[in-house]
């Protein structure tokens, strides 16, 4: 029924390697947005929270599920919104026209 452990571990290890490879190329300029963006990606935990909430059937379960869904949603929604707000400000030219960069 469940995925064999070795498959899950394989996926885990390969994902780690992909992460190192993709991220080690990001210039320092973008480290803060990257940290924020990566922070938003682990908001995927909200999917886990939904799955747990769906099978909750007692008060403790409901409370844990509510907190998990709320935390996960705050992480994922806030994370993407704030990263976009930061990146929106990165631009090659100033908004006001007439000034040229040397």
């Amino acid at each position: 029924m469940s995925t064999p452990l070795v498959i899950v571990i394989t996926v885990f290890v390969l994902s780690l390697l992909v992460g190192f490879e993709v991220i080690s190329k990001v210039p320092p300029t973008l480290h803060t947005p990257l940290m924020s963006g990566a922070n938003a990606v682990h908001g995927v935990v909200v999917i886990g929270a939904l799955l747990v909430a769906a099978v909750a059937d007692n008060l403790v379960g409901y409370l844990l599920a509510f907190a998990a869904v709320a935390f996960g949603a705050a992480n994922v929604v806030g994370g993407y919104v704030v990263t976009d707000r930061m990146l929106h400000m990165f631009r090659a030219r100033p908004r006001a026209t007439g000034r040229r960069e040397g």
């Binding site: 992460g19 320092p28 099978v55 998990a68």
Partner: protein, 466 residues
């Protein structure tokens, strides 16, 4: 194709988009698109999950209410915080979002390891680790955010037994984890694990100084990634495993880069207590060394008649929220035909790249920004290096062995033809030593708050220079 398989393929597509999104963040020109791609993929994955739950047809009305209420509460809080936060407070907010992510991962594990579930080792081992790491990330990130916001004192907090308490707590959570794995139906083991891990997170971060918080937040970000990956093991959801591992890798790389930029080891930062100012031994200039003080008018004339000016923004600029003033000064100088660039040290501001965000907010075009490797060859051609609230990252003592900053990569500010330092006092930087740059004969010191000084400079350039 049944809905379970369809959802699995959608998860795979989302995971691929997370990787591509992070890859697009390599370049300022594509970074925003990358984040939007990643966010769009996340929305698809969440929608697919909801569709899956509906297709089950077994989810109770109460559970749906819990889901809707939780999602609405969390999303509203997240959007509100993300929209309202000041750019200077960004590190705290990232830390808070990280805290709730870690908390969510820990809660999942707790829900799965509740006594009546009594799962086997296939679930309890990753579950216990998820609970442990997620809880440490939760309380640790809260303390880190509190330190940056000033709710918790930023200085390293040490006390008798500060080295022993974390060890005792570590023993507590190891015992709790073993208990949980060996006897999964014991609630006591679960509670011991949670309590010890929560206290450990606090005890780990309290002794670390406020200036090291970015490294701590980055490490805790990686920890949350791992916790989410472990939650994927518990729930048998590969998309959590992939995304969590990606973040675990990114957080680790960032942590290492930041620690390297400060010439510290991650281990030493985590052990804490640095910057308490005890017995660092004054290196460099003695107390008799002369400092040349300059006025805003002097500096304005010097800047206005320069060909090339390099601005070195530092923590003091971020603390004074003077990014708009520095951008106004640069724009004014550019109008006069002065070539202005910014030399940004990797750890300027409060975390790597934070200064770039602040300058971007102030509408500084990113082609004007130079990182360490690009900036240093340009200093010898600069007529004026204008240092705004940066200290240790400009100290030439770093080139000699035997000082606390030795070996730290610095900006070669002292190689410019002349140097102006805007600073509130002769106070020492984080490393606790005097900066030899300040006593260099070519350096003029403008003692003032960064925001006030830059406002004065703009006024002086306008008033005195036609």
């Amino acid at each position: 194709m049944d809905i379970e398989t369809t959802v699995a393929y959608l998860y795979l597509a989302a995971a691929a988009c997370f990787v591509i999104g992070l890859h697009l963040m390599n370049n300022p020109a594509t970074a925003r698109r990358g984040n939007l791609l990643s966010g769009g993929a996340m929305a698809v994955a969440v929608a697919a999950t909801v569709a899956l739950l509906i297709s089950w047809g077994t989810v109770t009305t109460t559970a749906w209410l819990v889901i809707v209420a939780g999602a609405a509460t969390g999303s509203a809080a997240g959007v509100y915080a993300a929209r309202r936060v000041q750019m200077t407070a960004m590190p705290q907010l990232v830390s808070l979002f990280n805290a709730v992510g870690g908390g969510a991962a820990a809660l999942l594990a707790a829900a799965h390891l509740l006594p009546e579930v009594a799962p086997g080792a296939r679930l309890t081992v990753p579950g216990a680790l998820d609970l442990l790491i997620g809880t440490v990330a939760f309380t640790g990130s809260l303390v880190a955010a509190g330190k940056l916001q000033g709710w918790v004192p930023g200085r390293p907090i040490t006390y008798r037994g500060a080295r022993v308490v974390p060890l005792v707590l570590a023993a507590g959570f190891v015992a709790g984890a073993l208990w949980l794995v060996l006897a999964p139906d014991r609630l006591a083991g679960l509670l011991l694990l949670i309590a010890a891990a929560a206290a450990f997170g606090v005890a780990m971060v309290l002794p670390i100084g406020g200036a090291d918080m970015p490294v701590v937040i980055s490490a805790l970000n990686a920890a949350t990634g791992l916790a989410v990956a472990l939650a994927g093991f518990v729930l048998d959801e590969l998309v959590l495993v992939i995304a969590g591992a990606l973040v675990g890798a990114s957080g680790s790389i960032l942590t290492k880069l930041m620690a390297e930029a400060m010439n510290r080891s991650v281990l030493r930062i985590m052990l804490g207590g640095f910057g308490t100012g005890d017995g660092e031994g004054a290196a460099g200039a003695g107390p008799g060394a002369q400092v040349r003080t300059v006025s805003a008018e002097d500096v304005a004339i010097q800047l206005a008649y320069a060909d090339r000016v390099v601005i070195v923004p530092g923590y003091g600029l971020a603390a004074a929220q003077a990014q708009h003033e520095v951008a106004a000064l640069a724009a004014l100088l550019e109008e006069r035909g002065v070539n202005v660039t910014y030399a940004v040290h990797p750890v300027a501001g409060r975390m790597p790249g934070h200064m770039n965000v602040l300058l971007a907010e102030a509408d500084v075009p990113y082609p004007q920004l130079r990182d360490l490797e690009q900036a240093n060859p340009e200093f010898p051609q600069a007529d004026v290096a204008l240092v705004v609230g940066a200290n240790d990252v400009t100290n030439p003592a770093a080139r000699r062995p035997g000082t606390p900053v030795s070996g730290m990569p610095i900006l070669d500010v002292d190689r410019a033809r002349s140097v102006v330092v805007i600073k509130r006092s002769m106070g020492q930087g984080y490393a606790g030593i005097d900066n030899e740059l300040y006593t260099d004969p070519r350096t003029g010191m403008l003692f003032a708050d960064a925001k006030q000084a830059l406002t004065d400079l703009v006024a002086s350039v306008r008033a005195f220079v036609r």
